[in-house]
Each structure stands twice: as structure tokens, then as C-alpha cells.
């Protein structure tokens, strides 16, 4: 048993070099062996824009992806803390439940789509539809976000430290958006609202989590006007 203990300590860290092994092998390890392996930290080398890196993780572990990720990095994550030392493609942390994903670079479309929980941090810019249909996730973007961000967002918070594109928060439900920069336009049913003390506290906490040095009082609050919640026969229907 002693030798096993020694073995365990030396295998706390693990490396997957995707130039030599496949994404399939990485994911299989994460799903089937991780929980009993004692591994606490994984380095993923040479990701080279591969899709579906570290998807469906269901156990606490720190994963460092050393390079660019393709679509769906950290998709459906639970418990894991994933850092991408590069840019990512579509749907980073899509449908995340818990844990965190941090992107050191830029994120393509639909970052954090439908996420239920956890924290997604994008240090650079995020493209179109960031936070689309989010359902409780917290997203903090260091740079700008593209058009239609937080489209139909249901719950959770989206913090944008830069500018926002067209139609921000279109058809919002109960998610709340905080924007530090300029908003090109608000989407249907999204409205700017005054910041309360609770909003300032929320933004301060999220900025701290993300490690961004901004002042919460610089942010504006955008939330749903809730005018699309019910059919209204007398209104001009947009749908």
C-alpha cells in the first residue's frame, strides 16, 4: 500500500499531449478514470484548435489547455476548473453546470451558451451571441461582446467590461447584464435600469472572481422590461 501512496503522489499531475494522443483518450480518462486516479491537475499540450476538449467532466480537477481550443471547450462542465491559454472557437463552456472556465484569449460565437451554473471568464473579446439562452451561469468578459449577446438569456449574470454590439439582451428573461462600455443597441424588451447597491456588490464580486481591476460604479445595468412575457392581442406583435 505504501508504494501505491507514493505512486499516487507522483501522479497528481498528468499531461495529455494531443499531438500524440487523441481528444477521445483525454475525454475518456476524464470520464472514466479521473475520479479514482487521484489526479488533481492536467496539462493539455498541442490542442491545435481541436473540438470538444475536456467536455462532460464530472469531477473536480484543474485543467490547463496550453494553446488554442476549437468548438465546445469545457462543454457541459461540472466541477472542473479549466483554463485555456489561447483562444477558443464556438460554444466554450456551453451548458456548463458548475466549476469554471477561463479563456486567456478571445472567444468565438455563443460563449457560455445555455450555461446553468459555474463561472466563465473571457479575458479578451467574445463574439456574437455570448451568453445566449444562459440559465444561471455567470459570465465575465474582459473585452467587448458581439451582436445578440445574452439573446433569450434566462438567468445568471453577464458582465461586459468593454463595449456591447447590436441587440444586446434581445428577448431577455431574468438574466441581468452589466456593461462598462458603450452599448450599440438594446434588443427587443431589454432596458437599461439604475444600478442599486446590490448590483454594485454583485459586479464587484464578479470582477474580483475574474481578476479585472474595474470600478463597479462604471457599469450600467440591463434587464428585461418583461413586456414579451405574455401575449397581448392589442399590441403590434413582433413575433
Amino acid at each position: 500500500m505504501d508504494s501505491l501512496t507514493v505512486e499516487k503522489r507522483t501522479t497528481m499531475d498528468k499531461t495529455f499531449d494531443l499531438a500524440k494522443s487523441s481528444v477521445r483518450e483525454l475525454n475518456q480518462f476524464l470520464h472514466q478514470d479521473l475520479a479514482t486516479s487521484g489526479v488533481k491537475h492536467i496539462d493539455v499540450l498541442n490542442p491545435n484548435g481541436s473540438h470538444s476538449i475536456a467536455v462532460g467532466v464530472n469531477h473536480p480537477v484543474a485543467i490547463d489547455i496550453r494553446g488554442q481550443g476549437g468548438y465546445y471547450v469545457g462543454g457541459m462542465n461540472k466541477f472542473a476548473d479549466i483554463t485555456v491559454h489561447g483562444n477558443v472557437g464556438w460554444g466554450v463552456a456551453e451548458n456548463m453546470m458548475s466549476g469554471s472556465v477561463r479563456v486567456k484569449g478571445f472567444a468565438s460565437e455563443s460563449a457560455g451558451a445555455t450555461g446553468h451554473g459555474g463561472t466563465l471568464i473571457i479575458e479578451g473579446d467574445a463574439s456574437l451571441r455570448c451568453g445566449i439562452s444562459m440559465k444561471g451561469i455567470d459570465i465575465v468578459v474582459g473585452g467587448r461582446v458581439g451582436n445578440y449577446s445574452a439573446f433569450m438569456a434566462q438567468a445568471g449574470r453577464l458582465v461586459i467590461c468593454g463595449d456591447a454590439g447590436d441587440a444586446l439582451g434581445d428577448s431577455l428573461y431574468e438574466a441581468v447584464i452589466y456593461v462598462r462600455g458603450k452599448i450599440k443597441s438594446l434588443g427587443a424588451d431589454a432596458q437599461q435600469e439604475p444600478m442599486t447597491a446590490a448590483d454594485h456588490a454583485a459586479v464587484a464580486e464578479l470582477l474580483k472572481r475574474a481578476g479585472f481591476p474595474y470600478d463597479p460604479t462604471e457599469f450600467k445595468r440591463v434587464a428585461s422590461a418583461r413586456s414579451l412575457y405574455h401575449w397581448n392581442a392589442d399590441a403590434n406583435q413582433e413575433y
Binding site: R24, N27, S52, G56, Y71, N95, K135, M152, Q237, Y239
Partner: protein, 458 residues
């Protein structure tokens, strides 16, 4: 005593009571309503208009040139396997008739439980719908297909991992190109919580997936779902029938194990009636196009095809299989088996009239399509605590089992008459059409001729 004969000049002029074909009473009613409310009609179920359908086909059974099998004694297999292309664990079913995807939200949790129980006893599958997976249906269903829809309501990795197949829903026959809809009356606390929405709001789902667009992305999305499920379970792709030939080919290229095609007769719990009646193509035409796409790719039997949209009887199932489907899905038929549009509901061991409740909705048994109101008089498409008690899951399961058993017996009866010891051996050769439209759509000859319009023969 003879009635005095009216002079023609004094008789009312019939022309003054002549109904217009173009502006008939339905259209007049439609325009009056539109003018009064400025809002389109929303309703449940599927297309009500008459369409070319399986009814327009008949079987050529065995005789001299081919011989039939003994109806009661000789075996006729119905086993159906879906998802043999990539999945390590394909879905194995005892019969080729499955329960279509219908959401918890549109249906009560008790109905979902009844569906699961019946499916398990029948050895077939049931499918979740746009509202997440309930404990009731997971526990009661041996084989449960978990839908991945644009809304992703309640979609989570734990349920992905306990599903027996994943179905990426791109569209449905009742509203291809449209998203789901659930009016506020049905968004009760439990439904709201599962969908992460405020209670009582009119919920309209997105029509496109949030994290992929187009066939090249779908390849990557399917791959992600396979990675999450370690390539264990089949991935289905469901499309609403429009450009079926191209869509099926793209779904196959994207890596689908199973393609589900839902024709325009397919039902819904709520959508705009303009969608239901005017968007999409009939199941008959859709099925043939889907089969053609698979044949051209040499994928018949490698990627399985499930057809749905107006499947009602064993004859429909047999015709669908003969045209090339591997299985069918039944939605509205199952609701009707549970008592939808029945005059009465069965509760505490006795029948109770529901006619008054139909009248409150402005309708009557036989005509009701008011699933969207949540006031289902027989307790099926409701989230109301009192109404939902009108459907006992055990009684419902029994009725569903009887219905599917009946269809399966009809299916094997026809298959044996056609000389097949396996229902999957039914073939297009066994069918002829009664109408030119059906002959053209299904590409089987008009009965008594060798004429397939647009193809061959005289």
C-alpha cells in the same frame, strides 16, 4: 294533406344562400377573429386538412405469384434495432413502434409516467420533449431517448449520461422552422423550475440551436455529444419535413446514427395554426424522399430511419415500413389512446362526463385541439393539479399498451399476408396507390397500372 306548391317567383332564391368556396365559413370566421384581435390563432395537435396519406396506399398480398404466411402460426419478427452505425449500445426494441417526443410541460408528469410504463412493458422507447427529463419518466422507461433542443430547457449532463439515446431536434412536422411554445397557463412552478423560467409566462423557444448553425457545425455538435457519452449511445437527428432529401443527406453526413423525419401531420401542444396547416410536406412524401436519400448514400440499414406524423394504425405502420422506414413514432395517436377527445374520463373506478369542460373551451369531443390552454378536459395536456388527476398512470399505461399491441398485431397480420416472416422485409413492391397524388409522392404505381407519375410506365 298536400302542401300548396310555391310559385318559383315566391320561393327563396338559393343563390342568396350560396357559400363561397374561397371565402367559406371557416375563412370568414378566421378574418373576423383576426380583425377583432390582431393576433393569430394558436392551437394544438396537427394538420386537419385532407392530405395524401398512407390511406391512399394498399398492399398487394400473397396469392399465386407470391405466397402468404400462416396468419396465426408462422413467426413474424418485429425486433427493431436503432443506432448501429457508431453507438456501442444501439437501442434494441421489441416492436418498430415508438412513442414520439412530447414534453413534460405540454403533458402532465402523470402522462409521462404512463408513457414510460407502457413503453417498458411493450419493449419500446419513449422520448423526452422540450422540457427536460422528469424522474417519473426516467424511472418508468427502460429505453428513454433524451432530446437536445434549441431551448435546452432542463438540459444537463447527468440526464445526458443516463439517456439511452440522444436526439438532436432540428425541427418538428407541425412547425418546421419554428420553436416550441408553451403558454403561461401550463407553466406551473415545477415546469417553470425545470425550464429556468418565471412561472406563468408565455414561453416561446428558440427555433435555432444556440451553439451551432448549419451542417458543418452539426458534425462538431454531434461529435461533442458522442464525446460526452463516450460513444456509447446512438445520436438521432430529428427534422421537420420540408427539404427532406437534402436534410437527410446532411444529417447522415453530420454523423447521425438515426434520422427521425416528422411529416406535416405531426402534432404539437401549441403553435400558430398557420404553421400547422401551411408549412411542411406530408409524411408520405417525406418518407419517400428520406428513403431515397439514404439509398443514394448507400446508407439504408446503416443509418436507421424513423418516420412520424399522422401514424394512427397498424396499416400505417406496415405501409411506413414497406416504404423503407425502420420504425415509426406515434404522438397524437397515443394521446387519443389515453382518452384525448373522449366524452368521458375514468377516475376512481368510474366514467365521468367531460362534455361540460369541452363546452367551456368552446369545443366538443371529436373536435378538441385545445392542448395549448392547459385545460384538457380529460387530464392529459394539462399542468392543473385537479385536471391531471383525471388520468391515472396505471390505467393510461394499460390503454397505451392495448393500442400499441393492436397496431403491432395489425402490422404482423399484413406482413404475413405479404409473405414476410419479419416486418422489416415489407417492401415498396408490396404497395400500390389509389390516387395519382399518392402514387407520385410515394413513387409506387397507381393500382392496376405500372404508372408512377414522374417516373415511369403508362
Amino acid at each position: 294533406m298536400n302542401k300548396p306548391v310555391e310559385h318559383p317567383a315566391q320561393a327563396p332564391k338559393r343563390i342568396q344562400r350560396e357559400e363561397s368556396a374561397g371565402f367559406d365559413r371557416t375563412v370568414i370566421d378566421y378574418i373576423h377573429n383576426a380583425a377583432a384581435h390582431g393576433l393569430y390563432e394558436i392551437r394544438g395537435l396537427g394538420a386537419k386538412r385532407k392530405l395524401p396519406h398512407f390511406d391512399d396506399l394498399v398492399f398487394l398480398a400473397g396469392s399465386v405469384s407470391r405466397y402468404p404466411l400462416e396468419g396465426y402460426r408462422e413467426k413474424c419478427h418485429t425486433k427493431t434495432v436503432l443506432g448501429t452505425r457508431y453507438a456501442k449500445k444501439p437501442v434494441e426494441l421489441d416492436i418498430p413502434i415508438t412513442f414520439a417526443g412530447m414534453s413534460f410541460g405540454s403533458l402532465s408528469a402523470r402522462v409521462k409516467e404512463a408513457l414510460g410504463r407502457a413503453a417498458t412493458e411493450l419493449g419500446t422507447s419513449t422520448t423526452t420533449g422540450d422540457g427536460g427529463m422528469t424522474q417519473e419518466e426516467r424511472q418508468s422507461s427502460k429505453t428513454l431517448v433524451y432530446q437536445c433542443l434549441p431551448s435546452r430547457y432542463g438540459f444537463n449532463p447527468d440526464d445526458v449520461r443516463r439517456a439511452d439515446a440522444i436526439e438532436v431536434v432540428i425541427g418538428q412536422g407541425a412547425k418546421p422552422g419554428g420553436g416550441g411554445m408553451l403558454l403561461g397557463q401550463k407553466v406551473n412552478p415545477r415546469v417553470a423550475k425545470m425550464r429556468t423560467l418565471p412561472e406563468g409566462i408565455d414561453q416561446r423557444s428558440a427555433c435555432r440551436h444556440p451553439d451551432w448553425t448549419g451542417p458543418d457545425d452539426l458534425v462538431i455538435k454531434i461529435n461533442e455529444l458522442r464525446e460526452i457519452t463516450d460513444w456509447q449511445v446512438p445520436i438521432y437527428v430529428k427534422i421537420g419535413a420540408t427539404r427532406v432529401y437534402n436534410d437527410v443527406k446532411l444529417a447522415v453526413h453530420a454523423g447521425a446514427d438515426v434520422v427521425v423525419v416528422d411529416g406535416m401531420q405531426g402534432g404539437t401542444a401549441a403553435t400558430q395554426s398557420v404553421f400547422i396547416e401551411h408549412v411542411g410536406i406530408p409524411t408520405l412524401a417525406a418518407l419517400r424522399q428520406a428513403v431515397e436519400a439514404l439509398e443514394e448514400l448507400d446508407m439504408r440499414g446503416k443509418v436507421q430511419l424513423v418516420i412520424s406524423g399522422g401514424i394512427r394504425t397498424g396499416a400505417d405502420v406496415a405501409k411506413a415500413l414497406a416504404l423503407g422506414a425502420d420504425a415509426v413514432s406515434v404522438g397524437q395517436g397515443t394521446l387519443i389512446a389515453l382518452g384525448c377527445n373522449h366524452e368521458a374520463y375514468f377516475q376512481n373506478g368510474a366514467n365521468h362526463s367531460a362534455e361540460e369542460d369541452y363546452a367551456k373551451l368552446g369545443t366538443a369531443p371529436g373536435y378538441c385541439h385545445h392542448c395549448h390552454t392547459g385545460r384538457c378536459p380529460v387530464g392529459i395536456t394539462t399542468q392543473d393539479a385537479i385536471l391531471e388527476q383525471r388520468l391515472d398512470p396505471a390505467v393510461g399505461a394499460k390503454r397505451l399498451k392495448n393500442y400499441f399491441k393492436t397496431m403491432n398485431m395489425e402490422l404482423t397480420t399484413v406482413a404475413r399476408a405479404c409473405g414476410k416472416s419479419n416486418v422489416h422485409h415489407l417492401e415498396r413492391e408490396d404497395l400500390v396507390a389509389l390516387t395519382i397524388e399518392a402514387a407520385a409522392m410515394a413513387r409506387v404505381p397507381l393500382a392496376g397500372t405500372s404508372w408512377i407519375p414522374g417516373v415511369t410506365g403508362t
